[in-house]
Symmetry: C2
Subunit: 314 residues, 2 copies
Amino acid sequence: MYINKISHYIPKTRVPNLYFSQLSGQDEDWIFQRTGIKTRSKAAKDENTNTMAIQASKQLSNIVNFPISEVDLIVGATYSPYDTVGTLAHAVQRSLNITNAKVVSISSACSSFINALEIVEGYFAMNKAKKAIIVASEHNSIYSNPENPKDGHLWGDGAVAVLVTKEKISEKDIHIKDILTFGLAHEGEGNLGVMLHPKFEGINMPHGNDVYLHAIKYMTELPKQLLKKNNMSVEDVDYLVPHQANIRIINKVAKKLKISKDKIFVNIEELGNTGCASSPIALSQNINILKKGDIIMMSVFGGGYSGGAVILEA
Amino acid sequence: MYINKISHYIPKTRVPNLYFSQLSGQDEDWIFQRTGIKTRSKAAKDENTNTMAIQASKQLSNIVNFPISEVDLIVGATYSPYDTVGTLAHAVQRSLNITNAKVVSISSACSSFINALEIVEGYFAMNKAKKAIIVASEHNSIYSNPENPKDGHLWGDGAVAVLVTKEKISEKDIHIKDILTFGLAHEGEGNLGVMLHPKFEGINMPHGNDVYLHAIKYMTELPKQLLKKNNMSVEDVDYLVPHQANIRIINKVAKKLKISKDKIFVNIEELGNTGCASSPIALSQNINILKKGDIIMMSVFGGGYSGGAVILEA
């Protein structure tokens, strides 16, 4: 399976650390030193998970070289939903008038994009789909509390849409070589490490250190495991595209994998943690620097817990 | 693929029509005549989507004849989430200590159970899983407004857990012969027909008549389409298990399909609309009346819109 096209949408507003330090009393420099975040993207008042998903998907449809009506599967990914009935995947189906597609939205927290890729892989294996849109969109700003000094400053908003095909369509298509996911709710604090109760208090991270340690562990181990399965090694990896939760997690993972910093796609300094959209947005932002044959490793970890890794070949 | 075991959990409380007529001014008899609902199940204060999913899954694990740790895939289904990060699927993974599984939760509104079945079918096709738990759980009572005279009285709470295996394990296993799903957001009012904005107003059904008409249309057409594909006809169907949104929809579908009422599994009179859990709960409630060789048709429609059908053989 292949990534044919990718497109992202980031809301214009950037919120600086000063905003949070004024509300929560948390020091501006402390926020940057502890997280690597200087600003985070924030959706406008009339934007939400569905509108951002539509924006990213419309941009995607503009660069795809076949009628978008040929898409036969749409998988939405979000943990910060605007609508759990008319989901982001449904909003995209209607907006692009795709009339013959399977449509579903998923959450496995920040690892959802890779879970969505694996679900698409399954539809391709069954021959029930051949051309899929995966759209990941997060609207963290409505579910987070800027007055919370522990985690209120972490979150960004944004969306990304990816056209994934079973067959290769163009020479520039990126080969999805292999996909690995794991549910990790049995580990550590598991499904109580990070919570988002949409009806009640929104995002809450009572066990930040446990999340931090497990993120480093699995964002290191899963890529190694997947490389080994494919008779490859870390030396083969040209770029690492990690989940963007915290620059300290990214740096620790890079150090353990012995991948130098110039090989890592990072957007957390400007965007904050844009959830399951963060690593595919980073891929989309850097898509034009990839050269034929480059190996790209995506590695993600989600509160809940869950993890995933993907090997791509440009 | 096969249904090996199925188990459901319904909260004890039943709320009568009188409760809603006192709050919304809607006549008790009108509610019954328009919906077929006399009471609806309501979760206790300390219950939620995740706790009900755990209850149903623990009961399931008690009747499964192999170590539940052999489960390698858990798919949660809900549009009324308690936690979108530590989802119901993650809660079940942790609660049953299933340490080697892929874990994801999905929503395609009231059709989600059949979407979940199709996703499991994909994992089986890839040989990435062989034994899956699908757990559907809905906590409608926290997202609906009992004072709304249009739709406040419709909703029930409950959960169901299903053990689905790639290979046949016992003679009593139910064969899943074929699965069909469609995203239908391009039809009628589409993703604006029914909405659940978890952060804002909860469930809202501004286009009830449009939902009603499309539910009847697709809950009739999709079974016919799937039967035709399998060289079968409606005469082959021993039982219909429809989504339980409204008895008038069920009766219209039955009339159009020419299936007599005694062949239909119905629980809406007692439970109300328990969302994507409703039809698998109805299957679970009637599992012991099935005889070897019986053909069971599940047919569902979800706000959003989406539809699905499944042919089962006992």
